[in-house]
């Protein structure tokens, strides 16, 4: 199975490199210049994780390569799980990379090496790496968890109904979530209860771990559903 994950990463190495460079650059500049990076991170994680999943399934669909994999001595479970694992691996890799650049951005802000980059929260004195990471942990964990579940749903539709439907439905879901968040933020964002809830989330110390563990659980369930589906599916 690791061979299949490696294959996915090698096949999409250019895309992964592009995401890494893009995310790294934008994250570094945003954090070093004083932004907390949350908004950028949200967009970055969603785009990179979803983009990688779409691209790698598109390649499989276009070339009909699952038939090639099915001709090899591989189980259905290995074929499906490897796809879930490769998406997870790439998103984790990119999140780690983004955090490294965040720390680097904070360092640049703190050190004054780059003139004009001094307004980062971490710039008030010596660089505290853990403080930078802790500062981002909640929003990063929630966004990462959401991205993981969303991509899991995308893969579920892909293995259930094919690339075309997965691509269309997932975009519709993403758009619906975006509209709901925007409308919701405008309509109820000012309410004290909502503000308290947001503050609770931001200050919670256990929420990052809980959200990541929950999303991994949901992701695993979606993977198991896909394996069940593929076991009875006709490949053509």
């Amino acid at each position: 199975m690791i061979d299949l994950v490696y294959k996915d990463i090698i096949q999409n190495r250019k895309l992964i490199l592009l995401y890494a460079l893009l995310g790294g650059f934008v994250g570094l500049v945003m954090i070093a210049s004083g932004s907390d990076g949350g908004g950028v991170f949200t967009a970055y994680v969603m785009i990179s994780t979803y983009g990688f999943a779409v691209r790698s399934t598109y390649d499989e669909d276009k070339s009909g390569a699952y038939l090639f994999l099915k001709s090899l001595p591989l189980s259905d479970a290995a074929i499906v799980a490897s796809k879930f694992l490769s998406v997870l691996a790439v998103s984790v890799m990119l999140v780690i990379f983004f955090n490294i650049t965040a720390v680097l951005g904070a360092y640049l802000g703190a050190s004054g090496i780059v003139p004009g980059l001094g307004s980062s929260p971490a710039a008030r004195g010596a660089l505290d790496v853990m403080a930078v990471l802790r500062g981002n942990a909640v929003s990063f964990a929630i966004v990462f968890s959401f991205a993981l579940i969303f991509v899991g749903i995308y893969l579920l539709i892909f293995f259930w109904a094919g690339f075309a439907k997965a691509s269309t439905y997932s975009r519709a879901i993403l758009l619906a979530v975006f509209v709901m968040v925007m409308i919701g933020a405008g309509a109820i964002g000012h309410l004290p209860a909502v503000r308290n809830f947001v503050r609770f989330i931001e200050t919670s110390s256990w929420l990052p771990a809980i959200s990541v563990i929950t999303s991994l659980g949901v992701y695993s369930i979606l993977c198991a559903l896909c394996i069940g589906r593929v076991k009875v599916k006709d490949w053509s």
């Binding site: 061979d3 294959k7 096949q11 390649d59 276009k62 070339s63 009909g64 390569a65 699952y66 038939l67 090639f68 099915k70 001709s71 090899l72 001595p73 591989l74 189980s75 009875v232 599916k233 006709d234 490949w235 053509s236």
Partner: protein, 349 residues
């Protein structure tokens, strides 16, 4: 070794004659065994597919487009799930022992499916991990023989080259059973000959079995020991090729027009030739409906001659026709192509 005679003379002289395909073999001696395999689609149904291929032999799987060849092969490869039935490959259930079975099978699909951006060398590294018996030197030598640049991306290879790459990948782990789904379909004659020549060379290995689907019957005539015909999702024939060719014959004889009247006509006497021929043709039709019912798969009356293809030729049948028609019939051999056409036309009539 079971395959010796077959490989040496390709004609089964003195062996297997009058033996039903796969008959008398234990499951372990069969490269492939399908029993009552069915698959239902909204507009197509594979019905009760049953045949066997003994180890060490080559079976041609013939049928027109849409007959169910690819579906049958995909069921064997567990790419399509059967609705019911049993499939055993090399003595193993194809689902319970899927990985073991696939380690022993080399498969080339109807349209080679590869990752377009990758190179043959990358495929070699990727695929070789799954086969303990992988022979890299053979793979490289085969690519060389086929004139494929191992560093060229698959998307830059022609269709013929992709088929050859598929064949090289399928052969390099020394499979015991080779399953080929119309590998020569759509190839130009030169590439087709290359592919068949490569197949001819690898099947010299007497332990290797080949299951080869095609609608180009000349390919089968060249290399197959057994032949299975499929049409509209059903197996029509499955047997040793020479037995099939022995049973399927083209039988023709002149219509039994009364000689006296012919003489009258030739000497200028009044005779309605058309009505007399019609009468003779009607007699033949009645014969076909009664005494020879179901004997001919396809038949026609052209001018003063009846001709028909039978799948059940014997000297007894020849005698019976001679007696009924009043003439000794002319018996001619038919090709696999003729048989395929007769099956399709006969079923569609």
């Amino acid at each position: 070794m079971k395959g010796n005679n077959a490989r040496n003379d390709r004609g089964f002289e003195g062996r297997n004659r009058n033996r039903p395909a796969g008959g008398g073999y234990a499951t372990d001696d069969l490269a492939l065994m399908l029993r009552g395999v069915s698959k239902k689609y909204p507009k197509f149904e594979l019905k009760d597919v049953t045949f066997s291929l003994p180890r060490g032999f080559i079976m041609g799987f013939i049928g027109p487009n849409g007959a169910g060849k690819t579906t049958t092969i995909k069921i064997i490869m567990n790419m399509v799930r059967k609705s019911k039935g049993t499939v055993m490959a090399l003595g193993l259930d194809h689902i319970l022992h899927e990985k073991e079975v696939k380690r022993l099978i080399g498969y080339v699909g109807e349209e080679p499916r590869f990752y377009e951006e990758m190179t043959p060398l990358w495929f070699e590294r990727f695929v070789s991990k799954y086969y303990p018996t992988w022979d890299k030197a053979y793979f490289i030598a085969t690519l060389d023989r086929f004139g494929i640049d191992p560093t060229k991306r698959v998307k830059d290879l022609s269709k013929g080259m992709k088929v050859k790459l598929g064949l090289a990948l399928a052969l390099s782990h020394k499979p015991e059973l080779l399953i080929l789904d119309e590998p020569t379909s759509g190839l130009d004659p030169v590439v087709r000959r290359d592919v068949l020549d490569e197949l001819m060379s690898v099947i010299q290995d007497e332990k290797r079995s080949v299951f080869f689907s095609t609608h180009i019957t000349q390919d089968i005539e060249r290399i197959a020991d057994y032949v299975t015909f499929i049409h509209q999702g059903q197996i029509v024939e499955s047997d040793v090729k020479d037995d099939i060719l022995g049973r399927w014959k083209l039988i023709s004889f002149p219509l039994p027009v009364r000689q006296g009247k012919v003489q009258d006509a030739l000497s200028g006497g009044g005779w309605d030739l058309e009505s007399d021929v019609k009468e003779a043709a009607d007699r033949i039709e009645r014969m076909l409906d009664h005494e020879l019912k179901g004997v001919f798969v396809e038949s026609k009356i052209e001018g003063l001659t009846f001709s028909g293809i039978t799948s059940a030729f014997s000297s007894a049948l020849e005698d019976k026709i001679a007696q009924l028609a009043g003439n000794r019939p002319r018996v001619a051999p038919v090709s696999l192509d003729d048989i395929l056409v007769a099956i399709v036309r006969g079923n569609n009539a």
